[in-house]
């Protein structure tokens, strides 16, 4: 967070407050500021293969605001919803708050296990997934699974929420495009956020929905938060259009890549035999898998007692998992801290 260009941002915000706020002071369109939606649609098309018009984009209070808006609009109380297991707390919470019955669907090396989902609940109204870089395992969903998921949604008239979190931080290779862009008639709502590239406290995220969902989503919106605050939207438009977004993103990608490489190297060197590192090619975290049978909650507790904050994969799970692991965030820790941390962790885990 200390690398964000606060001076630049404060200049952009101040300029817009002075020059533009008086012209946009009244209630704004619930979908958000159109030039920002235009900038996002261009960006998503190039970087993520998302196909959409600006009219399909709705600005939200972070990704959480998007998950909430979609869940409330598309689900009735009691509806079943597939949720990746292990999976993201925030999605579980948004779906539960909308009255959904959660159907945990296992994630394996190919991503969400669509066939098991169909066995457990063929008639679910919605599936939540993070196919690019599954949270928390980091697995990328295979093309076959993606097509199967899209086909399931088409046949059952269900919806898919694609959470493309952290996909901005891609370190290598040609990016796998978003699920959203795979089929023109895909029943996909794509969710993204600016919390990671910018800062979370700005509360800016967005969703991309099929055209027929925009009116229902905006109707819900009118009776919830009406719209997100205008100044952040104006400043972000400038930030993107003037090239600051791309520059900042490139800088952060290089930084995070160095930290990822260092962390995986240190884990392999100091925890060989205990932890099997899964190296993601995007994101801000990696998973160290424990040998089957080792208790990852206990490992996380031992680490925490030594001042190292990692989360067990089991904490994100609604049912027992075949193998435990630890989730290591690397984006926010300086290189010296990573080295020291892994050393301390290795000492702490000798008792596991």
């Amino acid at each position: 967070l200390d690398r964000f260009p606060y001076d630049l941002w404060s200049r952009l915000i101040a300029r817009r407050a002075r020059r533009s706020l008086s012209t946009v002071a009244f209630y704004q369109p619930p979908a958000g500021y159109l030039p920002l939606r235009e900038a996002i649609s261009v960006q998503l098309g190039i970087s993520r293969g998302v196909r959409c018009t600006p009219e399909q984009i709705i600005l939200t209070a972070g990704a959480q605001g998007a998950l909430d808006l979609v869940a409330r609009t598309l689900l009735n109380p009691g509806d079943e919803a597939w949720i990746e297991n292990p999976g993201y707390f925030g999605a579980q919470g948004a779906l539960l708050a909308a009255g959904a019955r959660l159907v945990p669907v296992p994630v394996d090396a190919l991503g969400l296990d669509v066939a098991t989902g169909q066995q457990r609940s063929l008639r679910a109204r919605l599936a939540f997934t993070s196919p690019s870089h599954q949270f928390p395992t980091g697995v990328t969903m295979s093309l076959g699974r993606r097509l199967a998921l899209l086909e399931w949604a088409r046949q059952g008239e269900a919806w898919i929420i694609e959470d493309d979190y952290d996909s901005e931080f891609r370190f290598s290779g040609r990016p796998l495009e978003a699920l959203q862009g795979l089929r023109r008639d895909g029943r996909v709502i794509y969710v993204g956020t600016f919390s990671k590239v910018l800062v979370p406290a700005l509360r800016l995220g967005y969703l991309v929905a099929p055209p027929e969902l925009i009116d229902p989503l905006l109707l819900t919106r009118r009776f919830t938060d009406v719209h997100v605050p205008v100044l952040e939207q104006l400043a972000l438009t400038d930030f993107i259009q003037d090239g600051h977004y791309d520059r900042h993103l490139r800088r952060m990608r290089r930084l995070y890549r160095r930290r990822r490489d260092l962390l995986q190297g240190e884990l392999r060197r100091q925890l060989a035999g205990l932890i099997e590192v899964s190296v993601p090619d995007m994101g801000m975290a990696l998973v160290g898998w424990l040998p089957p049978g080792k208790d990852d909650r206990r490992a996380a507790a031992l680490a925490e007692a030594a001042g190292i904050f990692v989360t067990s994969i089991s904490r994100f799970s609604l049912e027992p998992l075949p193998r435990g692991g630890l989730v290591f965030g690397f984006a926010g820790t300086e290189e010296a801290g990573i080295r020291r941390g892994v050393e301390r962790l290795a000492a702490a885990l000798t008792g596991l």
Copy 2:
């Protein structure tokens, strides 16, 4: 909106973005920035007789964000909720979105008719009311009704949402205190907004809840919008603490009072016999009542055809009303516009 001090606001926002944003860039407490909640609790105590600690205050995306948060947290689908009739769209929408069954309760010259509410639904879980200055009629709820409403809530373990909209703009007399402050054990959630004193596009509102509701409300919050953006909260704290809020409010009160006086005078002069003006001692709108039997929707349509935008009281009603009326906003119209508008309205309504 053109009277808001945009230059000053842009300086405050810029200063906070430069000096403070880096220290509050991560996810913030879901209830909002504590110094702002402290400032609001002091302000509400003095101006509205609201008794609360800062810990009882939650910042929200305008008043609508507060209504939504409360309705979602306190209601289960199918629960009955009293709603003032005629009443505020936004409250109807928030309650419906939470799955409530709306029970319209008539408003008479003493405010919400509690006895009729009890006949229609004794077991409602919640009542929505705007006792200081009922929307849209402008009626102030009597003390007797207030005590009856509080007692009903106590006995049935129901909750009362008190929407104290526009009460900042009090023109005369000693302000009647908020329902919230009447009883220490009152089951009241007080809702306010900065949309009217500042500008709506900033999306800042708040609620004041009994201590036992804070945790449940914040749990819902975590899975909806997480918190409102931080910069507006920081700038607003300065705006209040440096005295700008009070100065701006005094200026706007004088302006709105002049416009109210002019509008009521013109209506009495030019529409005597057709419109009976009810003069509010607070707010940004007044009601002109039509003689019983006159169709207020038709009157509003005739006015609109002449370029005058007024809303019929019937539009805010879920059931037929004993008497129709027109709601005139006076806050946003220059004096010459008010004169010309009433003239045109008088001409347009001759055919009613």
